[in-house]
């Protein structure tokens, strides 16, 4: 436990000691800000039109602004996650510091966990940027906070699962760029798998779209907590971390 914390601190510090953390946060702020602006503007225009037609129905901010925003955030995450995980192991392998980690009295799993948790924390910091935008919504409207919380839980679970996969991929190479590229490819694949369900209705189409991380995010964005989806993410995280630990172990045998 202590060892995991030591690795966690070192990794998190590594993100903020290099430009990467700020770059990611800035990137997210710009893209998310853009979506936020579009969504709110659209929402206001719609509201005005409704009023002109005499339909003074109060519109639902959660439904029309927050829900699409959360979906957007989940997609932006697909692009950021490779940049968060690519260095985790590849860099240590390239510089030889992996020898320090693996000859210290620390278990492989403690290292894996520490690294993954740091990546998750970094990802949460990036997501945290969107709090500013949401703050504006709370300042000028009365959104329901419970679905938002559920949405963020979904983002974190989805992120955790992709981060675990990214961490695994980072153990397989000593080249950060390769690790990042491959992770991006896998993230993209897991995302587009969802499209299969739109034209393929057979059993295998269902299986494939079940594997899509985006499919499982949908309920969260609506504010619906479904244990089935939580279980999916948790088992993907577990699987990813398990693969990572095995891969680290096999570094010793293959080398």
């Amino acid at each position: 436990m202590r060892n995991t914390l030591i690795i966690f601190q070192k990794e998190l510090r590594g993100y903020f000691a290099s430009p990467i953390a700020y770059l990611l946060m800035a990137f997210f702020a710009v893209i998310f800000g853009f979506f936020f602006y579009s969504a709110t503007r659209f929402f206001i225009l719609q509201g005005m039109q409704m009023q002109m037609r005499g339909m003074g129905m109060p519109m639902d901010v959660n439904e029309y602004v927050i829900r699409p925003l959360l979906s957007n955030a989940s997609v932006i995450g697909l692009f950021l996650i490779p940049m968060i995980t690519m260095r985790l192991y590849a860099e240590e392998k390239r510089s030889g510091t992996i020898e320090l980690l693996m000859t210290s009295p620390v278990s492989d799993m403690e290292i894996v966990l520490g690294k993954w948790l740091a990546a998750l924390a970094m990802y949460m910091c990036v997501l945290g940027v969107s709090a500013v935008n949401l703050g504006l919504l709370f300042a000028f409207g009365k959104p329901d906070w419970k679905p938002i919380l559920v949405g963020y839980l979904g983002l974190i679970l989805q992120g955790g699962c992709l981060l675990a996969i990214g961490t695994f991929i980072s153990t397989t190479t000593r080249n950060q760029i390769v690790a990042g590229g491959a992770t991006f490819g896998v993230c993209l694949l897991l995302w587009v798998l969802d499209w299969v369900s739109s034209y393929e209705t057979s059993a295998w189409g269902k299986v494939v779209s079940y594997l899509s991380v985006v499919t499982h995010f949908e309920p969260f964005s609506k504010g619906v907590l479904d244990t089935k989806d939580i279980l999916f993410y948790l088992s993907m995280i577990f699987f990813g971390l398990f693969l990572t630990a095995r891969s680290v172990e096999s570094l010793r045998w293959r080398s």
Partner: protein, 338 residues
């Protein structure tokens, strides 16, 4: 302290370490000597639990590297060939991280880090980024990292490679100063290094141990006779060289005498004894008895360079005469890590 028995390590195609056995006693400094690709790094990686052995066993302080790696790791300080440093960390930050990783309690960390910084003479750069340090300083930080948890055993992989002569001397001094508290294995492909710093030497070539002994014994074993260098000064007036030579040659057990150097009123001879004869005491007595000053009397060992050439040549000869297994190139310099 260290016990290796029948250890082999095979990479996909290469047999990097081939059935080696050796033992290192507590408190010794052992030199692991061999050309590039001999298997030094591989052996060290097995000892540090970085790589598992393919067969055979290795024990450190009574713990097996496969069965109780955590116990072994606690007792080993390791400086890999490339010091495992994070360039974007400050020295003190890095050492604090490693100290915690090695299991020091939070309360002990700052004190111990300061102590080690002093010991390795890096206190004045402790606030600098590691990436900004010179190679010599980085090596010292690497050493500091290895001794942080005061391990029983220190394993240093080519600790002086790539340093300039001044840095080499400083690093050697540092290593020697650590000798008292730790059992040290250091690898090198530079022969003088072993002569300088080690008591014991294990010579390894193509994954096999070629020789293993104390530095003096090895020299003696190979040479069989003793060579002594003497510097003589006339205590007054000039020195008659033929006179000196004659006197030296008359000493019991002396083989032949070679003039090495003359300067002002000093002469240096190298005197070789007959095999198995000890000549130093008699030489000294004769020189002083003749009324000259004995400025220096020193045994000239065979350099390890000579030993090494001899041993590996012998190895090659026997290998050629017996079976010709597909041999891996000993001088293969490519170092594939991982």
């Amino acid at each position: 302290m260290i016990k290796v028995e029948g250890l082999s390590k095979r990479y996909a195609r290469t047999l990097a370490v081939d059935n080696i056995s050796f033992e290192v006693q507590k408190g010794q400094i052992v030199g692991f000597l061999g050309p590039n690709g001999a298997g030094k790094t591989t052996t060290m990686r097995v000892l540090t639990c970085f790589l598992p052995p393919s067969s055979g066993s290795a024990q450190v302080a009574g713990f097996d590297v496969l069965e109780q790696p955590l116990e072994v790791k606690k007792r080993i300080g390791y400086l890999p060939e490339t010091p495992p440093l994070y360039p974007d960390m400050e020295v003190i930050e890095y050492l604090t991280f490693v100290a915690k990783l090695k299991g020091l309690s939070n309360a002990d960390v700052p004190g111990r880090v300061r102590e080690v910084c002093d010991r390795c003479a890096i206190s004045h750069v402790s606030a600098k980024l590691i990436g900004k340090l010179s190679k010599g300083y980085r090596q010292r930080v690497g050493l500091a990292q290895a001794i942080l948890h005061n391990p029983d055993v220190l394993i240093l992989d080519e600790p002086t490679s790539g340093l300039d002569p001044k840095q080499i001397i400083e690093t050697r001094e540092l290593i020697k100063s650590l000798a008292g508290d730790h059992t040290i294995i250091l690898s090198t492909h530079i022969l003088s290094e072993v002569e300088e710093s080690c008591e014991q030497v294990i010579i390894i070539n193509q994954g096999k141990i070629v020789a293993q002994d104390t530095v003096e014994n090895l020299t003696a074993r190979l040479r069989g006779s003793e060579s002594v260098s003497v510097e003589i000064r006339a205590s007054g007036g000039a020195l008659n060289q033929s006179d000196v030579r004659q006197k030296l040659e008359q000493v019991a057990g002396v083989g032949h005498v070679v003039l090495k150097d003359t300067r002002d009123n000093r002469v240096t001879y190298e005197v070789e004894g007959l095999p198995g004869r000890s000549i130093r005491a008699d030489l000294a007595r004769t020189i002083v008895g003749a009324g000259w000053d004995l400025n220096e009397l020193r045994t000239v060992g065979m350099s390890l360079e000579d030993i090494f050439l001899e041993l590996t040549a012998a190895e090659k000869r026997s290998a050629r005469s017996t079976d010709s297994t597909p041999s891996t190139d000993a001088n293969e310099t490519q170092e594939i890590k991982q």
